[in-house]
């Protein structure tokens, strides 16, 4: 029982990441009709916002140690971040909290990247075939990855959660299990709650604001909205920016769970497409529910009991589900009929 509960928890925070990436992707599908192969790269760029902020905070001056030697036998160079030197404990505190602090940096940066991408490239591809959209965004994804590699290298770069969130929460005790039976890392719970908050905000924004109403109307019938004299293009630019921010935030907060590297863009690309298709093209609710569903099923498929019954099932579960859903329910869990069918 505790094993199953733990796997559900695993599925939830994995699902949170899948849902956030897929959410932005499906918004772009729904509004702009664009197949964005660079969406995984946006997730990766978000993660590197956290890396960049930490290295900015750690810009250091160098002093030479009197006693210690470096690997060549020269006096060891000790690096002290300016920020610690100037602000003392507050500086250390800032570095400690660099990952959550990077959210503040990622929002404007990712918005800017998203808007630039849409204005500079994507808007020329609204009317072009999907194959060309795929090729151009795939090219962009490669370029973005390579640029990050030039600056940060190919190896993963460790990021740590703040001290407070580094420990474990004994989740099981609340539900009446023995103490220590169902412990869960605090940061992973934070990630799950964070993903819920972001998903909630996006839904609220689209549901309760005039802007959101126009966007939803545009998703339903773009031409009519245009005929009403509403500048739908400008709104769609902002929508693209928001999708980029959502993917970026998902990336920022994921860095303590998994050290980021430049290859993340490609790693999460296929998966996020599968999530979107399972949920239904252009369906926000579908993307979120499919994200959590696939996360949880993936966790269950990895259990020894299941694997001994069906060897290799954890390798293919995601794709197997996609195949089954698409055959049984062609438009995905919550998709509208006829979207992106040709």
């Amino acid at each position: 029982m505790d094993a199953i509960l733990l796997q559900i928890l695993n599925g939830l925070d994995k699902g949170g990441a899948y849902a956030l990436i897929a959410l932005g992707l499906t918004i772009i599908f729904g509004t702009l009709g664009v197949v964005n192969f660079a969406h995984g790269a946006l997730f990766m760029l978000g993660a590197f916002c956290a890396v960049a902020l930490k290295s900015l905070l750690q810009v250091s001056f160098v002093t030479e140690s009197a006693t210690q030697k470096d690997f060549l036998g020269n006096p060891l160079k000790i690096e002290t971040p300016y920020i610690e030197h100037w602000f003392g404990d507050f500086g250390s505190f800032l570095i400690e909290y660099s990952v959550p602090a990077a959210i503040l940096m990622a929002i404007p940066v990712m918005l800017l990247i998203g808007v630039t991408m849409e204005r500079g490239l994507i808007r020329f591809f609204y009317k072009r075939p999907h194959a060309e959209q795929i090729l151009v965004t795939f090219g962009l994804a490669i370029v973005l990855g390579e640029v990050v590699k030039k600056f940060f290298g190919a190896n993963p770069i460790p990021q740590s959660a703040p001290e407070l969130a580094r420990g474990m929460v004994d989740f099981g005790v609340m539900l009446g299990f023995d103490p220590g039976a169902v412990p869960y890392p605090t940061w992973r719970l934070v990630y799950f709650l964070f993903s819920l908050a972001v998903i909630g905000s996006v839904f609220a924004f689209l549901q309760f604001t005039t802007f959101g109403m126009v966007v939803r109307a545009g998703m339903a019938d773009r031409e009519t909205v245009g005929l009403l004299g509403i500048d739908i293009d400008r709104r769609f630019t902002i929508v693209f920016g928001i999708a980029a921010v959502v993917a970026g935030l998902a990336g920022v907060m994921y860095t303590p769970i998994q050290p980021p590297d430049y290859h993340w863009g490609m790693d999460f690309l296929v998966l996020s497409f599968v999530v979107v298709v399972v949920g239904g093209m252009g369906s926000l609710g579908g993307a979120v529910s499919a994200g959590f569903l696939l996360g949880i099923l993936q966790s269950f498929a990895s259990m020894n009991e299941v694997k001994s019954l069906l060897p290799g099932i954890d390798q293919i579960i995601i794709y197997l589900i996609a195949v089954i859903i698409l055959l049984v329910r062609p438009r995905g869990l919550m998709g509208r009929k006829g979207v992106m069918e040709s």
Binding site: A3, F71, L72, A154, N155, S160, D267, S302, K307
Partner: protein, 446 residues
């Protein structure tokens, strides 16, 4: 049907003849087929082929290998510097190998067998490389080694740790300086016994491919000889990213040691996440929970940051070693590039030097001659103590380092500390253990 086949066959024959005629000029200029052995160097220089991952997850490791090769070429051409000063064989006197200046070409393996073979073929067929070396995975090493055997080229393997490279898939033309999972198991076992005692229950997470299984098998074999039990050995997909669904079952399984048979990004991720789930600070059966990473790479371990502290593993070489060879190499490398070399850089540098020295001693670049010079060759001064290139399977036998993550690192390179240097005789194994039947060395087209 049969008629169409005859037609096609005659067409084939005709076009093949036409092809040979067309290709005639290139056949002679490329020298591939006209020499006494493949790519016999005719001018004043000789070309080596450095085949390393330049894109993909191991790009940084590949970049470090390339740096080491460039350094080795400098030293060979100069006849001194670095570990050439401490190397026991003094055959290389400068001016390259056998009086020919050493030049090199580079290629990208992409850590894929197909791409690596294509890249190696380009170096042999187009650039006239006389030897291929490098790589950062066993799949690539086996694939390229197999090609080199058929082409009549010497292959000096880079970072490859699976037993198969000099075991089941060994080839007469392929040579490995790096150690393997069998040696890792043999070297780790006594240290694990000291550290964790002999009554332990191990839980393996294993990357689901050849190297992972090989590693899992070796650790199981040696840990069960200590009296350890194996609770479970779970296979994880390569590149899983998030390993939480494999780690949570460990929590309440009753196991008190977790063995992570992962390398590269998988190792970084699974170790980071195992520590996240509190395994490093856990108590099970009244004992401190232990985590073991059988194959450590310092370069990759940096990616796991603080999570490596106190975690045991084995490695081929580490820059903090204090023997003369290691010190000379670290000094030369550090002065040129500004940071210490990785184990990948070390093994590739050694391979380049060993090849050059063997050619010089043999007085030829002919693969059979080089193979004869390397056969059961004893040497010292390359950072691992007295070493032998065993003739039976072209595997180097040398001391193995057991390391653990350092508690108080003084710099970002200072990640590991050497716990023990397991002497060579403890990790040696019989010639029949891994089933190598390497055949004979191929000189290629005569």
């Amino acid at each position: 049907m049969s008629r169409s086949i005859t037609n096609r066959r005659s067409l084939l024959k005709g076009s093949a003849a036409a092809g040979v005629a067309l290709a005639t000029p290139t056949i002679f200029t490329s020298q591939v087929w006209a020499a006494g052995y493949t790519n016999e160097p005719k001018g004043g220089s000789v070309t080596l082929g450095f085949n390393v991952p330049q894109t993909g997850a191991y790009a940084d490791e590949g970049a470090d290998e390339l740096r080491a090769y460039q350094l080795a070429v400098e030293h060979i051409n100069a006849g001194g510097g670095g570990m050439l000063e401490t190397f026991s064989s003094k055959a290389l006197k400068g001016g390259g190998i056998n009086g020919k200046k050493v030049e090199y070409v580079t290629g990208d393996t992409q850590t894929k067998s197909d791409a690596a073979r294509a890249s190696a073929k380009r170096m042999v067929e187009k650039d006239g490389a006389i030897m291929i070396t490098g790589g950062s995975s066993s799949g690539v090493a086996v694939a390229v080694q197999d090609y080199c055997q058929t082409a009549g080229i010497i292959f000096m393997a880079g970072l490859t740790h699976a037993n198969d490279t000099t075991g089941k898939d060994c080839r007469a033309n392929g040579f490995r300086h790096f150690f393997n999972t069998e040696m890792s198991g043999a070297a780790l076992a006594p240290v694990l016994k000291n550290q964790f005692g002999s009554e332990r229950v191990a839980y393996h997470l294993t990357a689901d491919y050849n190297w992972g299984w090989s590693q899992e098998g070796s650790i199981q074999k040696y840990s069960e000889q200590l009296g350890w039990k194996t609770q479970a050995a779970v296979r994880t997909p390569l590149g899983a990213g998030d390993f939480s669904q494999y780690i949570t079952p460990v929590l309440n399984s009753g196991a008190d040691v977790l063995v992570l048979n992962h390398y590269g990004r998988d190792m970084v991720n699974s170790l980071t996440q195992a520590v996240q789930f509190g395994l490093r600070d856990k108590q099970v059966n009244g004992k401190d929970f232990g985590i073991v990473v059988p194959l450590y790479s310092r370069l990759m371990a940096q990616g796991a940051g603080e999570n490596v502290k106190g975690i045991y593993g084995s490695t081929n070489w580490h820059w903090s070693l204090q023997d003369e060879g290691s010190k000379a190499f670290v000094k030369a490398f550090g002065e040129k590039y500004g940071f210490p070399p990785s184990q990948a850089a070390h093994t590739t540098y050694c391979q380049a030097i060993l090849y050059a020295d063997a050619c010089q001693r043999a007085g030829t670049f002919m693969p059979t001659g080089v193979g004869e010079a390397l056969k059961d060759f004893d040497f010292d001064g390359l950072g691992n103590g007295p070493t032998t290139y065993r003739g039976h399977d072209n595997q180097c036998f040398k001391d193995v380092l057991v390391v653990k993550g350092k508690e108080n690192p003084s710099s970002k390179f200072d990640v590991l500390e050497v716990v023990e240097v397991t002497p060579r005789k403890q990790v040696e194994y019989g010639t029949d253990l891994l089933g190598c039947n390497k055949g004979s060395i191929n000189n290629g087209a005569a």
